[in-house]
Symmetry: C2
Subunit: 226 residues, 2 copies
Amino acid sequence: MTKQVDVKKRILEENEKAAARLRGCFRDAGTLVVNMISSPGSGKTTLLEATGAGLGGRHRLGVLVGDIATERDADRLRGTGMPARQILTGGSCHLDARQIDGAYSAWGSPKLDILVIENVGNLICPTSFDLGEDFKVALLSVAEGDDKPFKYPGIFSRAAVTLVTKTDLLPHVTFDMARVREEVRSLNPAATLLELSARTGEGMDRWLALLEERLAAKTAATSAAR
Amino acid sequence: MTKQVDVKKRILEENEKAAARLRGCFRDAGTLVVNMISSPGSGKTTLLEATGAGLGGRHRLGVLVGDIATERDADRLRGTGMPARQILTGGSCHLDARQIDGAYSAWGSPKLDILVIENVGNLICPTSFDLGEDFKVALLSVAEGDDKPFKYPGIFSRAAVTLVTKTDLLPHVTFDMARVREEVRSLNPAATLLELSARTGEGMDRWLALLEERLAAKTAATSAAR
């Protein structure tokens, strides 16, 4: 058991080093990086399609998509004209910083204003792996139920932003939004929680404004440091 | 990296041994054991509430529930009068056979006809860990989308039964049932796929009949071996 703990510790330490290198690389490129984490089927890819459309020509958005198998998500995003690369983990339940480093390097210089890393569909394992991002975004669809934050405290305490997705389904499911707000606030008082439906567009304006504010803040900080 | 692979291999070998012991123990007890695996929020606990009500007094159903944090699911099930025990994994993303062994031993002799192990909400990691079960059941809610089987081939190729849940939401989501049937059949030609809504009761009769058939077959096999 000690050997297991040692190996896990070493894996995370190596990941931290790779993430620190990546963070410098993203800073130099002036790219805002978001690590998007959720259960399978919470609506990450649909949200990214709507995000690309919503940002229009104002900012260049690109996506690195992690999946165990298939290029489906990257294909969907490329179908909308978005620069997207698929990372196949071959069974692994999360993305790590070295995988991001490899895929980003192989991409050349994509010159992105915003890079979203769409993590493997898994509310647990990706949480521990820093990918050099500026912040983590957790998605929770209303179809999954309002009891999830306290059941999966790791991600909801670490995500700077929680997006409650698929709000168009609210009339058809039992979901207490006040309970979710309260649990997320209790786990992470500084977190922002937004409700949206990528399908109907409801709430998308606040999500797009948040991305643009964070991008402007990063650009200002990078300029000041030069 | 070699050390990682060695550790993973040793963990799985130790799990196999513990699972073999458990399987003997469940056979001696005449208990049918189901390992239930899905994403968070696919409806495992709601299905178990409806399953307990549907089986009525005919068979004794008990549940071992795995979660990272909170006793919420076991509390819900005990609230319906069902024998249920919570296993808290303390961050771990799956249940292993030793945890089941510990929880089942501590339970005394619960004298169950059917034991459902409600795994941690995770479509990936629990797949590799044999818990001494008779078969695995995968749940996929229609809200998660119809592209999941090929994206998560591990579970859908190993589950003897796939349950497409929350069919009451079908009018409100985009979900191609024929596509899901085709992908599941392609990954696992012997698998049974059932569609149901624990909320409305639609399709529950076929799920209950499947459980009762499997229980009868196990009972007959156990008697023949004595």
